[in-house]
Symmetry: C2
Subunit: 225 residues, 2 copies
Amino acid sequence: LIQISDLHKTYHMGDVEVNALCGVSFAIEAGEHMAIMGPSGSGKSTLMNLLGCLDTPTSGAYLLDGEDVSRLDGDRLAAVRNRQIGFVFQQFNLLSKESAVQNVELPLIYAGVPDRRERAMAALERVGLADRAHHRPRELSGGQQQRVAIARALVNSPSIVMADEPTGNLDTKTGLEILQVFDELNDEGITLVMVTHDPRVAERCKRVMRLVDGEVVSDVFNHQE
Amino acid sequence: LIQISDLHKTYHMGDVEVNALCGVSFAIEAGEHMAIMGPSGSGKSTLMNLLGCLDTPTSGAYLLDGEDVSRLDGDRLAAVRNRQIGFVFQQFNLLSKESAVQNVELPLIYAGVPDRRERAMAALERVGLADRAHHRPRELSGGQQQRVAIARALVNSPSIVMADEPTGNLDTKTGLEILQVFDELNDEGITLVMVTHDPRVAERCKRVMRLVDGEVVSDVFNHQE
Ligand SMILES: Nc1ncnc2c1ncn2[C@@H]1O[C@H](COP(=O)(O)OP(=O)(O)OP(=O)(O)O)[C@@H](O)[C@H]1O
Ligand SMILES: Nc1ncnc2c1ncn2[C@@H]1O[C@H](COP(=O)(O)OP(=O)(O)OP(=O)(O)O)[C@@H](O)[C@H]1O
Ligand SMILES: [Mg+2]
Ligand SMILES: [Mg+2]
């Protein structure tokens, strides 16, 4: 489903170059449940932004479902992204002027799907926030905003969900409820890629890849069951 | 140092009322090291915003160093806050157009302190980010932004540091390095109040208070040493 080959990402700030990814290669099969871990600043969000088709690499190839997406322009990239991928941002990226349910409806508007209000409310219900549907982001707690961002990523039943630190702002009990939702999605066949710092999240994933300074240092398949 | 009595905070959204804090009372002595825990949405950030003099309660009293700050207006509140409190926000609240070191210099500008650049660079050094001083927030990873927010809270040597989830975006090793910095501050006599979801953070605090639905359900002093 996903094939990454020798991916590089270099950020340019004036005359300074930051090599955030230095030649990353791996493949992900449909239906996998994978965690990406590593120190702060090691390149996890940079990799997720490339995997989620939110950015293009400096060099290297990315085949998504057999299609080379590494050289697509903005519009084509957005079309691929909206069709197949649900993305949960590390900083949530909710629209501050819209309510929670309006934020969750957004992918359905892009996709031209009917019954948007019912589907968005069902997604909010699933993350435990039906009673906060009409709050705007600044009228929600940090963990509630994070759960709205998760509901928005799920609402259009994508084939792949990519979540960048989805439990960072959640207490243990709420975090476990959200991980339960992710497990159910994976049981339904949805491919899950999750960046996490939390060992309790990683232990539920069947595969854990570690990044250090923009390189893959380990990639372990967990054959416990 | 801090005395809170029957604090209430109600948010009004149109005709909906959200009772975020429902009568919270406790005291904190100078030099304490306290964690505040509780489920997502239980009122922790609301309480921290009141303790940090960023907001005023709907009712109840808050004595800070013997002075009643619960009824101060915006300017007086800001003056108290800048003089005594270093605050680390859950969402960092960095200025997006300024570099990391410029963000850390901000409290020193308010306080009229000289040698701002050297002091700000020393604070960034202490959180391990001297090599990212000229990056703006969007040129930093999530955990790096969090550490800039921590450096900004420390730079003016406040007598109290309040941190809302300071390790949520940090990997275990970087998180421990930051907790080490907090422990050193506490050894120097600085009062620490920290909201956290991470049990590993709470176990280093000598006192753990738990909130559920806007009320204090437990307040345990840890007399292990
Ligand atoms: N400006 C606001 N208007 C209306 N409701 C609000 C506002 N800010 C917070 N709330 C509500 O008040 C409750 C407490 O919010 P608060 O941010 O204090 O929670 P929290 O304990 O910090 O949660 P988290 O761990 O998720 O950050 C939440 O249910 C939230 O929806
Ligand atoms: N737009 C940018 N311009 C310059 N440097 C950047 C930019 N975005 C990220 N970086 C740098 O690239 C490196 C990798 O950043 P990235 O956000 O991928 O890290 P991360 O592994 O997600 O970290 P965290 O766990 O703290 O979120 C960091 O050192 C960061 O400072
Ligand atoms: Mg990141
Ligand atoms: Mg909070």
